[in-house]
Symmetry: C2
Subunit: 141 residues, 2 copies
């Protein structure tokens, strides 16, 4: 099971990179190289971040991307939602037709409970907090 797809994974790395050099524009090429993300794939992802106003871009030579929201307010959940939709641990409700045996579905409420928990937990993990951890880690080693 995957809570993070590569889209999300790479988006987080890219945002960490961007949050780390706040006022500069970094090109997709630079980020891809730094984080070893496939270039064209990263570009798709950056488009997603643009659309959701987490970053802004500058076109043309010397252009690139810059973060456009306080990293402390940018949670992992926000990013997951952009690329994978809402966090759901199981999606039977989402497939238009309901559970085959809906009356049996006592499981659903348990799933929902735990889903909520996961959401809460990941909401508190932000690009800002990760960046802080990252800096701490680098200082130590």
């Amino acid at each position: 099971m995957k809570l993070f797809t590569k889209h999300t994974d790479y988006a987080i790395r890219a945002l960490l990179e961007l949050a780390g050099s706040k006022d500069e524009f970094l090109s997709a090429r630079q980020i891809a190289k730094q984080q070893r993300i496939p270039y064209q794939f990263l570009r798709q992802i950056l488009q997603g971040l643009i659309k959701n106003k987490l970053v802004i871009s500058k076109e043309g030579s010397g252009g690139g991307f810059r973060i456009d929201k306080d990293p402390d307010l940018m949670s992992i959940v926000d990013i997951i939602v952009i690329f994978q939709g809402n966090i759901q641990l199981s999606d039977c409700m989402f497939r238009k037709k309901l559970c085959a045996n809906r009356s049996n579905c006592v499981l659903r409420k348990q799933i929902n409970r735990i889903e909520k928990l996961v959401n809460e937990e990941f909401k508190s993990v932000t690009i800002g907090s990760l960046l802080k951890d990252l800096k701490k880690q680098r200082r130590r080693f």
Copy 2:
């Protein structure tokens, strides 16, 4: 994202069915009909449950399956593990090669933390507890 695949989903339903008629042998055909699970698919799943000693089988005419472990000790996690392996919210550690940029991987410890939480929570949900919920529900409606 899927915490439960169909394997797990159907396994839980089948076990609920079996736990509900503890001492009888139910055939795959019966369970499939009752829970509207594709017959051959269900048979695969039951084989998995046999291998892991959650149920026993009786061959031949009049044969079938019977639960073989206290439902209260049979947690959802046990079942997930059989069909999907350990609960992991993200699997980059599992793909033999490590994160492209491992030094950036402050995310990992957060994921692990929340993974642990999910595990704990689902451990407390058992076939026994679900069956109890189910009976309560049926009484009410």
